[in-house]
Each structure stands twice: as C-alpha cells, then as structure tokens.
C-alpha cells in the first residue's frame, strides 16, 4: 500500500519558483590604456605636487597643530602636545606620525612643516590613484577618468589644499578607498566590510566627512546584488560602527566621554564643534567669515567650485554618478548652512566629488551625443568638429584661468620668512631653559631646536587658555623670554592678555619680510622681568 492517494501531486503544487540564472560578475572594463594612463597620471600628479611644495602656499594655521600632535604621538607623549581635548579624532595625525620616517629620509634640516607636507604627498597621490579607479568603476571612459584626475590635481585651489597638512585630505583618501571598495566588481562581501572600515578611517581622520558616508552606503546599495544586498549592507554598517566605536571607547576608558568639571570630554568637544563654535555667518552675508572663505576659494579657482557644485546638482539625475553627486551635494550644503562654522579647508572634502561629477557629466554628454539622432547624417561631422573645438576652447580657457594660481604655487616661496625666522632662533637663541612663544607652524621647529616642548616652546594660544601651561608661568608675561610674532599670531582672537602684554613689553631683535607677512623675533624686556625660577 502506498500513500500516493493521500498526497496527490496536485494537492501541493510545486512552489519552487524557477531559479534565476546565476548572477554574473560585473564586467571588468579594463582597457589596455588603463595601466600606463594611471602610471602617467600619478607621475604627473607627483610632479605637480612636488615642485616647490614646501614653499607654496603659505603655512596655514592648523598645519602646525596637526604636525605638533603627530610629533607628540611619535614621541610617545600622548595624542597631543598639550592636553588632548577631542577637537578632532586623532587617527589623522596618528597616520602622519606613522609616516614621519618618510620626510626624514629625503629632507633633513628643513622646517618641520615642509617635512609634514612631504608626508601629505602620500595621501595626495593615493587619492589620485583611487580617484581614477573610482571613476573607472563608475564606468567612465579612461579619458573621462583622466579628466577627473586632471581637475583634481591641476585646479590651483585643489593643488594648494592638497599640499597642506590638513586632516581633510587624509579623510578624503580614506573615503575614496571606501567608495572604491563599495563599487566592488566581484560584489564581494568582504570588500563591503572593508569599505565600512575605510569609511570609519575617514571619519576618524576628520569627523565632518561623516556626512558623506551615506554616499558610500548608496553606492553599495546600487552596486550589490539583490540576493546578498542585506548582508553586504550589514557588513558595511558593522565594520563602520565597530571601527568607529574605538574612539568613544577610548574616551570612556579615560573617563572623558561625558562632559564634567575639571576634565575635557568627547561629547563636550562634539557639542562645541556642532553648536558652541563661533558661527562663520551666512555665505550670503557680505562681510561674514563664511563669505570671506568662499570668496577665497572662488579667487583661487572659480571653475571647480562653481562648475563643480553645479555639476554635482545635475549629476544627481545621472544614475551612475549618483553616489559622488550625493557626497558632493551633502558636503556643499553642509558648508553653506547658515550659522555653522565653515573652516577654510572644508572644500577639500568636496573636490574629488566635484571632479568626478564634472568628468562624469562630460562622459555622459559624449555618450548621448554619439548615440543621439540629433542631426541628419551629413551634418554630423561638422557638428562633431564644432563640439570638439568648443571642448578644446573650454579646456584652454580653464587652463588660462588656472595659470596664475599654479605659477605662484610652483614658483613663489611664500614661506621663506618662516624658514629664516626658524633658522635665526636656532642659531642665536640658547634653547636651554629659555621660554619662547611661537605659533603652531614654528612650534615643531622650536622643539627640534632644543626648546623644552610645552614649557620652553610655548604655543601662543596656550599661554592664556591651558591651566597646565599657566601653572609654569606664575609671573605671567614676565616669565617669558622671546615671542616670535607671525601673521598667524597677529590674527589672534581677543582675550589673550598675557600674549598681548608680552608683545608690548618686548623689542624686535630680528625681523624677516615686510608688511603683513613680516615675522619678528622679539625679546621680552629683561629689566622688567623678575627672577624666574
């Protein structure tokens, strides 16, 4: 006896859906030109970055801070040369510290900032390679990918920013890495996990790039296969969150997560960055800090800023460009929001995405142009020629507009005074037991010259703001010996009385440069000073 009658085939219809065909690996569109083109572009970028890299642009306010913090990490002092107050996550300058051996290898005796800029070239060149690969994975033609790289390298604004020791550049490298992994051709789960780790690396290098991370998630969403998408996104989120968690955990372990009396805290600093920081005003308000910042960007390169922003808005409508377009838009809007704080290097985060959107739109336009039945066949050749001529003229115009800015970066020495002042102090001031007040660009050099870090070489902000420094100076300005007054120091905010006092009661012993850029080494009046311990 069988049970067929109990379970007729028709009673349980086969529920199996027809299995879909096996998902294919995304086509590798590598062309023969890719490798030599990439090599050539990298060499070209190295040249563009390398020429005169220590001398232009002028040392920025934050560069020295990051380098000094990197120095502190390298020396095993801690995460900063003064109290680390969670102003930024430390991963950026930890990397700088790890790269510290590199400049020593090739340049010794040059100012610390020049060495720092040499380390930054590693990030700039890595970004160039990643940008090209990302462009190719967005299925842009090699010429379009090369265009993106050219925009990214040759824009005077980009070139100047990329040379400088800014955490944003480091974060951008990591974010491009994340995007590259997110666009994995094999759609490999562990590539997406790697993307999460890279995105976390970006945020731990510069926290504000957090806003661009959803663009990476978007790329994963679009690129991954339906069948594994949930796991891919989970892998990305897990790797991102867990890697990131190290930072608050560090703060918690030090008892510095929550704000409280008598200690710095991560949340307190985060609150300060988001809400407490002095607003730069609205970009549309002439005279505000934001307006000046944006104006400076436009002065250096109106092309990439304006055309890039416009292109990223337009690129939102192009499917393959949506991820970089979203990143560019979010970063731009973040900068434009009224009432926020707009740092001068903020645009550095948007630049690779502007370049991608511009090149991507050019690629899309060419594809549409080639495909379209826009003209009767006999008109096509002349129209094509005209388009080519137009593109050539456009490129020429852009090149001309970049000429002045790039020439300054390649020729002028904007930092000669800094270097000379540093040398003068080293040669003429006895470092032992001497207290010298400097800005953060000179600080690492003073330490290298033998001044006691923190209490001998004193970063001017800390004179009036850091109790750990003030405790060493019971006599206030009277306990100081030298002040090196630099443009950076002249732009100091109000409310640094000790510094102001020290400058007033001192004489110039050496001066370098003229006018606004003048650097003075000043000795504090010895007759007014009480005996120092």
């Amino acid at each position: 006896m069988t049970v067929v009658t109990e379970a007729p085939a028709a009673a349980v219809p086969p529920a199996r859906p027809e299995p879909p065909t096996a998902p294919a690996v995304l086509a590798r569109r590598r062309v023969r030109a890719d490798r030599p083109l990439l090599l050539g572009l990298t060499a070209f970028a190295a040249l563009a970055h390398g020429v005169n890299f220590g001398a232009g642009p002028v040392f920025g306010a934050d560069e020295g801070t990051y380098l000094a913090q990197a120095w502190a990490v390298r020396e095993g002092i801690g995460l900063a040369h003064y109290t680390y107050w969670y102003d930024h996550p430390p991963f950026g300058w930890i990397q700088l510290a790890a790269l510290g051996w590199l400049p020593d290898l090739v340049l010794s005796g040059s100012p610390a900032l020049v060495a720092g800029r040499a380390a930054m070239m590693v990030f700039a060149l890595t970004s160039v390679v990643l940008l090209y690969l990302v462009a190719r994975r967005l299925r842009l033609a090699p010429w379009a990918a090369a265009t993106a790289v050219a925009l990214f390298v040759l824009s005077p604004l980009a070139l100047a920013l990329h040379r400088q020791v800014y955490l944003d550049n480091i974060a951008v490298t990591w974010l491009l890495g994340a995007l590259l992994l997110a666009l994995s051709r094999r759609r490999h789960l562990w590539h997406y996990i790697g993307a999460g780790g890279c995105a976390a690396g970006a945020v731990l290098s510069k926290e504000t790039i957090l806003l661009a991370v959803p663009a990476v998630a978007l790329a994963i969403w679009r690129c991954s296969h339906r069948s594994t998408r949930a796991f891919c996104l989970t892998g990305f989120v897990a790797a991102f969150v867990l890697t990131l968690s190290v930072y608050p955990l560090y703060a918690a372990l030090k008892g510095e997560l929550m704000p409280g009396d008598g200690h710095v805290s991560l949340l307190g600093a985060a609150f300060h960055q988001v809400a407490g920081r002095h607003s730069s005003g609205s970009v549309f308000d002439v005279g505000s800090d934001s307006y000046r910042t944006v104006d400076a960007w436009l002065y250096q390169d109106p092309v990439i800023v304006l055309a890039g922003a416009a292109a990223s808005a337009l690129a939102l409508t192009v499917r393959r460009l949506r991820a970089p377009a979203v990143a560019a838009m979010v970063i731009s809007l973040m900068g434009l929001r009224p009432g926020g704080y707009l740092p001068a290097m903020h645009i550095a985060q948007a630049l690779p995405f502007y370049a991608l959107c511009l090149a991507g739109l050019a690629h899309t336009a060419v594809v549409l142009f080639r495909r379209g039945a826009w003209a009767p066949p006999r008109l096509r050749l002349p129209v094509r020629l005209a388009a080519l001529a137009l593109a050539g003229a456009l490129a020429l115009a852009v090149g001309v507009s970049w000429h002045d800015g790039n020439r300054r970066l390649w020729r002028d020495d904007a930092n000669a005074e800094y270097a000379a002042a540093g040398r003068w102090v080293r040669d003429h001031v006895h470092a032992d037991g001497t207290r010298i007040v400097v800005d953060d660009a000179l600080w690492p050099d003073m330490v290298r010259a033998g001044f006691n870090p923190g209490t001998g070489a004193i970063w001017f902000y800390k004179l009036d703001l850091d109790p750990a420094v003030m405790i060493h100076l019971p006599g206030g300005w009277r306990d100081l010996h030298y002040v090196v007054v630099t443009p950076m120091m002249r732009q100091r905010p109000a409310g640094l009385p000790t510094l102001t006092e020290a400058i007033t009661r001192s004489d110039v012993v050496a001066a370098f440069g003229e006018g606004e850029e003048r650097i003075e080494v000043r000795r504090v009046h010895a007759d007014l000073r009480e005996a120092t311990p």
Binding site: V4, V12, A15, R16, A22, V25, H225, T234, V246, L253
Partner: protein, 407 residues
C-alpha cells in the same frame, strides 16, 4: 583571529552573489534513477514517530524503503512502528538488541537489510519535504558524489531564550559553512538528511559504534578516502527539527557533540587527507568548538578585567580589538535572523532580536561550559550516550509552509 576565521567561514555563502547561487540545489529533471533505503532510528519517540513517517511517505519519489529501528526495551515506540509497518508496505521495522544503545549501533543493525543503492538517515522528529528525494536523486546522478548532505533547520525559534540562537547556528551552518567545508574537501557530516551510496557505506564498515559523533566521524572517514560530498541547501527542502527543550538538554547535547569531535580528532582518520591544507582544516574544524568557546570567553573576560581594573586606556583598547569580530558576528546574526524568517515564512518580532542579542554572552558561556565538560568527560573516559529528548515543538503549532512564505 579565531573569531575572524569563524566569521569569514560563517559568511561564506554570502561572499559574492555567485557563491550564494552555487549553494542551491540544482533543479531536478523529474526522472528518478536511484532507489533509497531510509533509516529512521527511534528511541522513546512514540509521540512524533507516526507523523514523521506519514510525512516521509508523501515523498513524490516513490523508489524507497523506510526502515524503522527501535530498541528491544522500548515497547511504546515499537508498537507505533509495527502499526505503521502493517499499514504501509514500504515501511519495515528492525529491532536493535544491543544491551547499551546508541545511534550508530542502531544504524549498523539496519545496514545489512538495506536494499536500495542509496542509504539515507533521518531522525524520528524530522519533517521531510516531499520533493527532497527527487532532488537528492538528481544530485547523485548529475555529480559523481558519494555523499549528498541536505539541509537541516531548527524551526522553533520562539520556544525559549536560547532556541533563537540555536536555530541561527543551524541556519548559518547549513546555509553557509558546510558548503565551504565541502568545497575544501573536508566535511563533518550532519546527523540526518544525509545520503550515502550503500556500497561505499558497506566498504567503510558503516558507522563507528563507539563514537559519540558518528555522523561527523563518517564524514571525516569518507573525506579521508577522497569521497566527494555535495551539499545542497534550499529553504524549501530542508528537514525541519526542533531545538532541545531545556538549557540542560542543550548543554548535554553539546557536550556529546564536542566529545564526539574530540574522539574523531583523536582517532586521526583525518591524517589520511591528501593535502596539508585539508589536514589543517580538519584539525581546525574538529578543534573549533573548543577554540571558539574559549576564545569567546577569554576575550570577553579580558576586556571586562581591563575595564574593571582600570588598566591604561591603550591596553584596554588592545583587549577590545579581539572582541570586534565577535560583536561583528552579532550584526550578521541579526540580519541572518531576518533572512531566516523571510526564507521560512516565520514572523520574527523585536523581542526575538532582543533575545538573540541579550542571549549571546550566556549562550557563549553555555557553549564554553559544554566544551569544558566534554574535555573532562573524555579525559575521565565517560563515553555514554546522553540522548536529546524531543517533544515535537516544531510540529505544534502548525508550521507555515515555505510556499506560503514565498507568496
């Protein structure tokens, strides 16, 4: 390190869309070329046996005989078995007269009576899909496999605090990990829904009657002589089982498995594996319950101590790093649970996710405890069989069919 390897292997199936696709059963052509002898050992399982047998008899592949194996000291189960045999011509009963009973002895007792060219093993509480044999038949015909391992899935994830984790373990094991093991040529087989060519099974002498993990041991021996094992998984076709009904039962079951793994490791059949890589994999696989249990507990303990004793932040952070893959695993378990619910048409509620996460450390401790106990028992030479009791929780209430889930 160990946790990262585990994570890598656990996620094997989802590595790329291609690997996921490769884990499916190939769709059969509808013809039947093999005959099956299905062995179903039952011990004190009169409550679930009849339903299991009726379900098996609904198979759309009718070329099989069903051999129920009951103990001579278990009249209740024997009565049910004989009733079933009287009702259905495909069913026969074999009585196991061993004084000390265990599953491998029961299976060996039945092996000489098998007439089919494929021997399949099921447990008394299994819910088998009517299309399973057709697919297995096709798998044997289209690959040169000696063994076909089908999927097994625990279903009653809502029964108690650990069942959701237990279900997920099976899900990840059959959905993912086993495929990787098969691909690498070393596989500890599961206890049921496993099909072996009868000739080969007789040649290797059936199951090891002394081994507590006879299924694992058979897989290792077959792998060692170069037999090809094909793993095929399909949510529709998996055999449904239930979790142990109490934490103690789970603890005992794990002790038995772990001890079985230890025995297989000590027997050393895996040393005959051809490549060094396979031997390494074998060693790692067989030792992994212990490695996993202890690394899990020690990393957790290390980090807790670092925090409690106020060690420097750097050291505490270092002790945190090994925890990352373990915590990362939790993320994948959450999404795995979601996937599990989707594939089996089960509604997963927020409380189940909460149980999954909250239960993790306790479950880890339980596994570590079972691993310790297994080592201890093996060392003391206690090798008796602690059977898992089944109450049929996966049968009641009626489990929705996957067909409904896909609709």
């Amino acid at each position: 390190m160990a946790a990262t390897i585990t994570l890598w292997w656990t996620l094997h199936a989802w590595r790329t869309p291609q690997t996921l696709y490769a884990t499916r059963f190939a769709p059969p052509d509808g013809s039947h070329g093999h005959t099956f002898s299905l062995l179903l050992p039952a011990r004190h399982e009169e409550a679930v046996l009849a339903q299991t047998v009726r379900k098996l008899l609904q198979s759309r592949h009718q070329g099989f005989e069903l051999i129920l194996i009951v103990g001579h000291d278990d009249p209740a189960t024997a009565t049910v078995a004989h009733e079933l045999a009287a009702e259905h011509s495909q069913v026969s009963v074999i009585v196991d007269h061993h004084a000390v009973k265990n599953k491998p002895k029961a299976l060996n007792t039945a092996l000489p009576s098998c007439t089919g060219d494929i021997v399949g093993v099921f447990d008394a509480e299994d819910q088998v899909h009517p299309d399973l044999l057709t697919h297995v038949d096709y798998a044997f015909r289209t690959t040169d496999a000696t063994v076909v391992q089908g999927g097994v899935q625990l279903i009653n994830f809502h029964s108690n605090w650990f069942s959701v984790r237990n279900c997920l373990e099976y899900f990840f094991w059959f959905r993912s990990r086993l495929h990787l093991q098969a691909q690498r040529g070393f596989i500890p087989l599961g206890g049921n829904t496993v099909f072996v060519r009868a000739n080969t099974l007789r040649e290797v002498g059936g199951w090891d009657p002394q081994c507590l993990a006879e299924d694992c041991d058979l897989g290792v021996r077959l792998s060692s002589i170069g037999c090809k094992v094909v793993v095929a998984y399909d949510a529709l076709l998996v055999t449904r089982e239930e979790t142990p009904d109490t934490a103690t039962a789970l603890f005992k079951q794990r002790t038995r498995w772990n001890q079985g793994f230890l025995q297989v490791l000590r027997k050393g059949d895996w040393r005959q594996l051809p490549s060094r890589r396979q031997r390494l994999l074998a060693r790692y696989t067989l030792a992994s319950p212990f490695v996993q249990a202890f690394t899990g507990v020690t990393t957790l303990a290390g980090f807790t101590m670092a925090v409690l004793f106020n060690l420097p932040a750097g050291i505490a952070l270092l002790s945190y790093l090994p925890l990352l893959p373990t915590v990362g695993n939790l993320f994948f378990e959450v999404i795995g649970l979601h996937d599990f619910g989707r594939q089996y048409g089960l509604r997963i509620r927020a409380v189940d996710y909460a149980k999954l996460i909250a239960g993790a450390p306790v479950y880890m401790l339980l596994l570590a405890g079972a691993a310790t106990r297994a080592v201890f028992r093996e060392w003391r030479g206690r090798r008796d069989w602690e059977l898992t009791r089944h109450v049929g929780a996966h049968l009641l209430p009626d489990v929705p069919t996957p067909a409904a889930a896909d609709a």
